[in-house]
């Protein structure tokens, strides 16, 4: 009885004493077994029979609160009693209902709901509660009760038959709150998707939900519930499209709403149509097809909105796909046939008017329908392709032919769903011959547009089996060769290259035998007139032709059989240039290297190609470069272009791309050959090894820069290998590289040596060995840097920068020491500028070393990490620096921020903005530019931190629009343009000022500046204006 008196006390304090905390104490009592729920009911006796509704309510509330915590442990018996109790209470005063509903909600979560109770609960609810007169929270409670029961008692609920649907329809009829609507739509969705009986209430259920369609909901500003229009649209769509039984109501509604003036309603209707076709059959659609087609056609013919057009076309595809799925009965008409006849009737004739606007929307509609299924595409192609072929031959104007060809292109590229199945042939195979003739005739036309589109059609034809016969492939190769030689129009060149690339991949042998020899012939053909006799223009155009041939060779090179033909030709160009043929300019040699790199990058990864590069390309390139260097040292000898920095720099990526893709065994061999070549002068693997010995490449000799700069090729080999490849003689290599990089007077050489050193450091496993290499290096660098009179400070700085980069990206603990050293150089009179620029390198991806393609150890987050660890130093350095030294800090900062990922920029912005604004007022144009380029992306998607700074930003940017530097004016105008996208309330106060200030820029002396000013000012005019 002690328990009982405690319980009575709790009840008393809760009911009369209004102490809410007693509820959880009571619940704890029940949970710990101190007393049972039924004892609680008993103890509540007095309050429950009180004449005061308020007291009764308080009593029920206590019970419900306890149940919310203890429903899981109730016995079946207890549940039965409680359900009966609550059902009874539903008839009580309306003020009590909220608590009753809470109790029922708790009970419906109970796992041991005895049979029959859920039906009983529902009957009472539907009978005794008028849901829509309840408050928002209670209505939500009712929906949750239904949802709970639907989860656990589906069979029983279904036993209610259509009464359940009727009860629900009555309950939700008139609901207006978006949160509750989401619940109600969920219930309705369950009803239609889980097979509840709708009986004679199908239309009622449709009505009570479809009255919200299309959803028009704007969440209140700073809505705490976060419900979006999209949430409501999608959950309602799930209901409306959930059953074909709604078809007869939904389709007319869609036809009506597609015609709405509101774009979002249009889109919603079209997307709903697309969604419902997945469940519908031809029978559901039949009656409405004409109406639906009329709406879709109208939208595509007349709309000015890309979104509406795309949604209409998707709906047409979906509709056609639905009709294509329907099984055909011999006795009934084929719905697909009938529908496509309708589409063809309305669209086909517009294809015969290639000048007029509707040719485009008509073609898009036909293509959308054809894309639905193989059957649909077959029918449409059968009707449209002959028509287009005929039109093309009767129309003679280029513009008309171009349009027709472009429409053809749309039909030649098959959609995923209309691809032929097994045993089916391409829908175009009947037109193979005329289509090929059409394309080849268009390729022979002089019109640019026609040639471009014809190349694209050719590409598409080639990609479908059976549409290009072997003789067509040869003809295609001839045409493409001719175009490469003749055509200098950039658009055609790029289309021809794309086509050659695609077709050579599919038909390598034909291209290797037909096209490559012709290109080679052209590359090495001697000019008709001697060089001194030809005009500069002629020379230039010959160069351009050769460059196109070289580029074409590269794009075609993916299959081994092509690569083995093309790469030697490119090598031959280099050796011919080296031999002094005079045929090729420096520019051509460089672009040949680029082409060779492309070959190395896109060649199919086979053992065969790997061996080819390993055996032939890499040794020959090294050999050529070495010959060039040695030849150049001889007095009076002709200088080979291969000693030029531009050429070497272009060779590096060729080598490193090739090496980075070698299989491990060949990689190891290449690495050891390269190392012994550079350390020991071992030339045995080079093709023509008539080199003087002993050959010293890395030793510092002031006259030997031609040799020492070859260290870049060493870097290309050893720094691009996978980390698992062992580099032999690594310690000697480090020593010699350090020596060269610290003492060479030749900038290209010492920079390449520093990069090579850094590239190796990056991949070495951490540990004492690496630490001692670094320690020795640091000591040397520090002593050079600390000695103001040293003539090798720049060299030491370069090595420092690259090694800092190498360590930073792999999170090596020593990296901080090195980057701190860089910071300490920011006030350095001699090196400040280089140090500030260095931060750009530190955080960017170099093209030739220390990147992921070279298998470098690069941690994803290194930039963020660097910023987090160092921003404070930078800020502090800036604020404490003398006026004259501040620009260095600003430049470093601006570089660093510029390379930060967007997300980090955003979070750091509050701290950064004042400094960035300061940087904008720096007199250094490079700092201004760098800062503007880092601000621009931030402004495109502005964070809240920007708000207090907008004023200052606008002022600074406006000032820069009158900068003497054109690039600064352009960049500042772009930022101002971006600012116009900020939320209106933030920028409206500046509208007049910006528009006035930009009027000056409209009269800028430079056209490129005016262009930016026009765009920015145009946008600012729209701020706060209708029609934005």
């Amino acid at each position: 009885m002690a328990a009982n008196s405690v319980l009575l006390g709790l009840v008393e304090e809760f009911v009369s004493g209004q102490q809410d905390s007693k509820a959880s104490e009571t619940a704890t009592g029940v949970k710990t077994g101190q007393f049972t729920v039924l004892e609680l009911v008993e103890a509540l006796g007095l309050s429950l029979t009180s004449s005061q509704a308020q007291t009764r309510g308080r009593g029920v509330q206590l019970l419900s609160l306890v149940l919310q915590e203890c429903y899981a442990s109730l016995s079946e018996r207890e549940v039965e009693v409680l359900v009966a109790f609550y059902e009874n209470r539903l008839k009580d005063h309306y003020a009590i209902t909220p608590y009753v509903l809470q109790g029922i909600k708790a009970l419906t979560k109970c796992p041991k709901l005895p049979p029959g109770l859920s039906v009983s609960i529902l009957k009472s609810l539907f009978q005794d509660v008028h849901v829509q007169s309840l408050m928002l929270k209670e209505r939500s409670c009712v929906y949750t009760i239904l949802l709970n029961l639907m989860e656990s008692q589906e069979e029983e609920l279904k036993g209610l038959g259509a009464d359940f649907v009727f009860g629900f329809v009555q309950a939700m009829d008139g609901e207006r709150d978006p949160r509750n609507l989401l619940l109600a739509f969920q219930i309705a969705g369950n009803i239609v998707h889980r097979g509840y009986e709708l009986g004679k209430f199908t239309e009622e259920l449709f009505e009570v939900t479809s009255c919200y369609f299309p959803i028009d909901f704007t969440p209140p500003p700073s809505d705490p519930h976060g419900i979006t229009q999209e949430d409501l649209i999608l959950s309602l769509r799930t209901v409306l499209t959930g059953t074909p039984r709604f078809a007869e109501y939904l389709l007319p509604l869609i036809i009506e709403k597609v015609d709405s003036d509101v774009q979002s309603a249009k889109l919603d209707s079209l997307q709903t149509l697309t969604a419902c076709t997945t469940l519908y059959t031809h029978k559901d659609l039949a009656e409405f097809l004409t109406g639906l087609w009329t709406s879709l056609r109208r939208e595509v013919f007349q709309t000015a909105s890309e979104k509406v057009e795309a949604a209409s076309l998707s709906a047409l595809t979906a509709l056609t796909a639905c009709l294509s799925r329907s099984v055909r009965h011999s006795d009934s008409e084929d719905g697909l046939e009938v529908f496509l006849d309708l589409v063809l009737r309305d669209c086909q004739h517009h294809l015969c008017e290639p000048d007029l606007k509707l040719v485009w929307p008509s073609a898009k509609l036909l293509q959308a329908a054809a894309g639905a299924s193989y059957r649909a595409s077959r029918k449409i192609a059968a009707s449209v392709v002959p028509l287009l072929l005929e039109q093309y031959s009767t129309r003679t104007q280029c513009a008309q032919r171009r349009t027709l060809l472009e429409v053809v292109q749309g039909f030649v590229q098959p959609a995923q769903n209309s691809l032929p199945g097994d045993g089916e042939e391409s829908i175009l195979s009947g037109f193979q011959q005329p289509l090929c003739s059409l394309v080849f005739s268009a390729l022979s036309e002089s019109n640019t547009g026609l040639r471009v589109i014809a190349s694209r059609v050719l590409t598409a034809l080639g990609q479908q089996p059976g549409l290009l016969l072997p003789s067509d492939v040869e003809l295609a190769a001839d045409h493409l060769t001719r175009l490469v030689l003749e055509e200098d129009e950039p658009q055609i060149c790029s289309a021809v290259m794309d086509c050659s690339c695609a077709l050579a991949r599919l038909y390598p042998d034909a291209f290797a035998s037909k096209m490559i020899p012709k290109l080679k012939g052209e590359i090495f053909s001697e000019p008709m007139v001697q060089d001194d006799g030809s005009t500069p223009a002629q020379t230039q155009s010959r160069q351009a032709v050769r460059q196109r041939c070289v580029a074409a060779l590269a794009v075609m090179s993916s299959k081994p059989s092509v690569v083995q033909e093309s790469a030697p030709i490119l090598l031959e160009v280099l050796s011919s240039a080296h031999a002094g043929s005079g045929l090729f300019s420096l520019e051509e040699v460089v672009s040949t290297c680029h082409s060779l790199q492309r070959v190395a990058a896109q060649a199919q990864d086979t053992e065969e190609t790997g061996r080819f590069f390993h055996d032939i390309i890499i040794p020959r390139l090294l050999g050529l470069a070495l010959q060039a260097a040695l030849q150049g040292e001889r007095e009076g000898a002709q200088q080979s272009p291969l000693t030029e920095e531009a050429v070497l720099s272009a060779l590096v990526p060729v080598m490193s791309t090739a090496c980075s893709r070698l299989q491990s065994q060949m990689a190891a061999l290449t690495a050891s050959r390269a190392v012994s070549l550079f350390l020991d002068g071992d030339v045995s693997f080079l093709p023509e090894n008539d080199f003087p010995s002993p050959l010293q490449l890395l030793k510092k000799q002031s006259e030997a820069w031609r040799r020492s700069q070859l260290v870049c090729l060493l870097m290309a080999c050893v720094c691009s290998m996978p980390r698992s490849v062992e580099i032999p003689q690594i310690d000697r290599l480090f020593e010699e590289l350090e020596e060269l990089s610290c003492t060479s007077p030749h900038p290209f050489s010492y920079t390449a040596a520093a990069k090579c050193f850094a590239g190796l450091v990056n991949k070495r496993p951490g540990g004492d060995q690496l630490d001692s290499v670094l320690e020795r290096m640091m000591k040397r660098i520090s002593s050079e840097l600390d000695c103001a009179s040293s003539s090798f400070r720049v060299q030491a700085f370069t090595l420092l920068l690259w090694v800092a980069k190498a360590l930073l990206i792999r999170y090596h603990p020593l990296s901080t020491a090195l980057t701190d050293k860089l910071f300490s150089l920011l006030p350095d009179p001699e090196l400040a500028d280089a140090a500030a620029e260095g931060f750009s390198l530190l955080l960017s991806d170099p093209a030739d070393v220390l990147n992921r393609e070279c298998h470098a150890d690069v941690r994803i987050m290194y930039r963020q990490r660097f910023f987090t660890e160092n921003s404070a130093k930078l800020f502090q350095g800036f604020y404490s620096a003398d006026k004259g030294r501040k620009p260095g800090y600003l430049k470093a900062l601006s570089h660093i921020v510029n390379h930060l990922p967007r997300q980090v920029q955003l979070t750091e912005l509050p701290a950064l903005l004042p400094l960035l604004l300061e940087a904008l007022s720096s007199p250094d144009r490079r700092v201004q530019l760098s800062t503007l380029s880092c601000l621009h992306p931030v402004l495109m998607d502005p964070p809240p931190a920007l708000t207090p700074q907008v004023d200052g930003l606008v002022s600074h940017l406006l000032k820069l629009t009158t900068s003497p530097g054109m690039a600064v004016r352009i960049a500042s105008l772009r930022c101002l343009h971006a600012l116009s996208r900020l939320p209106e309330h933030m920028i409206l106060p500046f509208r007049a000022r910006v528009i006035r200030a930009l009027a000056k820029a409209l009269d800028d002396r430079k056209r490129l500046v005016r262009k930016e000013a026009v765009e920015a000012r145009g946008e600012w005019f729209l701020v706060g204006c209708p029609g934005r």
Binding site: A992, R993, I995, R996
Partner: protein, 333 residues
Amino acid sequence: MNILHKFSAHPDTRCWYVAWNPTGTLLASCGGDRAIRIWAREGDSWECRFVLPEGHQRTIRKVAWSPCGNYLASASFDATTCIWGKKGDDFECLTVLEGHENEVKCVSWAPSGSLLATCSRDKSVWVWEVDEEDEYECVSVVNAHTQDVKHVVWHPTKELLASASYDNTVRLYKEEDDDWVCKATLEGHTATVWSLAFDSSGQRLASCSDDRTVKIWKECHPEDEQGEGRASTDPEWKCVCTLSGFHSRTVYDVAWCQQTGLLATACADDGVRVFKEDSNSDCHQTIFSLSVHIPKAHNQDVNCVAWHPKEAGLLASCSDDGEIAIWSYQSET
């Protein structure tokens, strides 16, 4: 002609119109910024003395002082006309005259101060009567023009009203049997007539137009030669002079100095011009010659010119660039 002052009156927008108060101590301006500002000379500069509270929703096209100088009327594209009066140290809106269907283009007080005229794009001219309690009542709506009416102006002494329109004509109105009726239509311009000005006697009327000319019209009584004509015959207005070839774009405004008889024009070619009547011009053959031409008086179109009512030769002008300029004209020596 010398420039005395130039100041930005309606920055970021255009200044449509300026008007001197009858004593010439204040200059009111209005513009595309929906603002009315009242300027006064303070020592060597011009200061904004009053900014009228926001009374209009759209551009304020014109302002007009009442003959007593105590009221200011403003015509706005928001289809209303406001009457402003001085209350303490500020101006406040006393009455809003509503009725026009769309943009009110002009407002003008009759010399007595008891009549007010407004005109609008709705093609109508309205005449309002002001009683002692300062209540305004529309007494007549005249739909004589076939297109929007750009300007209305009263005769300097009589109750005669003139209007200019997009329909290329000028019309004159008089009260007849409690209603205002069109008594004369002046045809001759080949494009929109933008503005009008009477000379001090009221016998001549100048009009300016998009056809790049200014015309002078003279009141002629048919019986003039035979002495006093019959009162029932209305006078005819004849074009006695056309100033063409001087302006290279639309002439937006013309002003006739009541003291000196000088004629000033505001032109869309950014220029201000002053014309002087030749001494040998007679009553049938009026001859004006160009006395001064300031080609770049403003950076953009000049919208309005206004002679100072007391100080001979003092001229105000305003422009699309939002600026007001004050000029001083000295007759050539």
